[in-house]
Symmetry: C2
Subunit: 366 residues, 2 copies
């Protein structure tokens, strides 16, 4: 069995914390990180919290060559009492293990990883920014580290959790974005790695994003890789359409990421008595409904933005405008409710929130 000891080695040189008002996304990192190693002989072992510093990795490490890696993304928030909260962290850890299985990476003890994550957040709690809409972004990742050039699953891995204080996503209020349907490039295909959170999916998406960005679009809408008709995701978010009284979102099919915000949106809508349909939906079908005047709101869902309203969707020469380019009523309610729960301002009827205890017992302090 794995060694479950978690050692802590505190930094000798604390970094200056940035001004909450000036925070961007993913550029500033905290004083400490969590690391844990895997070898075939020892399993996952040597769990420790150490000062944030560069990793020393052999240039032959497999991650550089064959991309065997997975990651997660979640956030810690401060409630009005100043206590750190996590939003559904077990869902992220469970998804990390599902990604591991697809990428042939050894799975983790989920309880231990949550324990380690909470310890890290506890130690870094002063790094959770306090300004409105800010949070501490949490990035667990696993990389293959065996120095070997054969194409095979690595026999050594490193798990790292780093933390980054991030600014409010909507500094000047929610602003609907403009999206283009992607016709040439494909993000993922059934039988591929689309539902895993692995680097290759993101690497392959960069080109389409670059082309669309030059044409003035924020993101692309991905169609399925086989028929190029079925709507899959938007940028790196899941996507929802309010068509008449019903909300439609593409069903999970193996090439779509199973978003935790997606799952929360669905649960919340059902709780509100709104009909939600998870099914296949083609771009043609969407356009037909649009022409009939039935598409009332469109939005993306993800950890970074929570809810990202889509004001315009261009499909070749067809331009679709939703809700006059304004944030819809439902999008706004979802955003307010989800962020309200995340920041502990609203009641949490689904037990989505996990508190990080403000007094923790360390196994050993180095």
């Amino acid at each position: 069995m794995e060694n479950r000891t978690l050692r802590v080695f505190k930094t000798m040189s604390y970094r200056e914390k940035p001004n909450s008002e000036e925070l961007a996304f993913g550029r500033t990192f905290t004083d400490h990180m969590f690391v844990m190693d895997y070898s075939d002989a020892e399993g996952w072992h040597d769990a420790k919290i150490v000062p944030y510093e560069p990793l020393k990795i052999d240039p032959a490490a497999m991650v550089f060559h064959y991309g065997q890696s997975v990651f997660e993304g979640l956030k810690a928030y401060l409630n009005p009492q100043g206590e750190p909260l996590l939003f559904r962290p077990r869902k992220n850890i469970a998804r990390l293990n599902r990604s591991n299985e697809r990428l042939c990476i050894p799975t983790l003890d989920e309880d231990f990883l949550l324990h380690a994550l909470k310890q890290l957040i506890y130690i870094e709690k002063e790094w959770i920014p306090k300004a409105d809409g800010t949070s501490l972004y949490i990035r667990p990742m696993i990389i293959s580290t065996e120095p070997f050039l054969g194409v095979a699953p690595s026999k050594e891995y490193k798990l790292v959790i780093i933390l980054s204080p991030v600014g409010a996503y909507y500094k000047e209020g929610i602003n609907p974005i403009k999206i283009a349907v992607e016709n040439d490039f494909v993000r993922a295909v059934r039988g591929g790695t689309g539902e895993a959170k692995t680097g290759g999916n993101y690497a392959s998406s960069l080109k389409a994003q670059e082309v669309a960005g030059k044409e003035g679009y924020s993101q692309v809408l991905w169609l399925d890789g086989v028929e190029k008709r079925y709507i899959e995701e938007v940028g790196s978010m899941n996507v929802f359409f309010k068509i008449g009284d019903e909300v439609v979102t593409p069903e999970l099919n193996g090439s779509i990421l199973s978003g935790i915000t997606r799952s929360s949106v669905i649960q919340l809508l059902k709780h509100w008595g709104i009909s939600v349909r998870e099914s296949k939906i083609t771009i043609d079908e969407l356009y037909q409904e649009y022409q009939k005047g039935n598409v009332e709101e469109v939005f993306g869902s993800g950890t970074a933005a929570v809810i990202s309203p889509i004001g315009q969707l261009d499909w070749n020469d067809h331009k679709m405008f939703f809700n006059n380019g304004q944030t819809g009523k439902l999008s706004k309610e979802l955003y307010e409710t989800l962020t309200g729960i995340q920041y502990g301002r609203l009641n949490d009827p689904f037990n989505w929130i996990e508190k990080v205890a403000t007094q923790q017992t360390m196994n050993k302090v180095g």
Copy 2:
């Protein structure tokens, strides 16, 4: 313009060279490596040959998270006079740049990179093993190093070339392999990254390989991601079928890697007056030809094995056996001719070989 200076910093502690007879693939590395950095401000700069050592990379470096990386694979051989030879290195460097374009990585000056590679080989020439069939494997790679968690092309990169002495691929003579047609998993799809040499393609292939390996197969034969009918590649090799008097190989379609051994096989066959057809070929079509007794030889092509004869191909319940499970005459001739040219034992009618000068002028020796 880029800074083209190449500095050399020799190691203070030379490693012991392994016994040529005991070499495996990709586990031993030489004393030095080539590194070069990219930043938006300086372009590709700070080219240097340094002692082989771990890279120090920020845990937020984009390669760990979003898989933006490319690589190449080629070999240096010793000719009977003991001079180092490279086989078509300009093709690898050109392909590296094509991979760069797909992955939004800044392209390289191809002449300078070849110059740098030759300098590295010159410095490490004692590492090229001398035993029959051995060689020095060359692995250039580029990784995205900007410490940033946004999904966007990195603004910083590191190019590294490492060298690994490798043993003879066929220690006990060529042995035909057993392959299974992959029905569930997909390696690549049109509009994806299949024709780029990037980590994600290899990461996504591991699971299928693992499943097939447990069932006793060496590799899988990949079908296209859309119709799951068209033959694409076998494992990480291109594939050829001798059907009657003609040799057929899948045409390059965007999801198939443009192999340099593949291109050399085609050129050699044409030179010999053998008809070669690059076209779509379905697994059904292959099976029909097999049933008619027309499929005489099947083989993979790649840098590692050069030619890898396939003795058995299983497609669901259909088992196909080629050339009685023996290495075919054409496979053997291709293998002997290609390796003969690579090791400088045979005439090189196509100017495929580049010599590494045995006296080089260094720009500066550190």
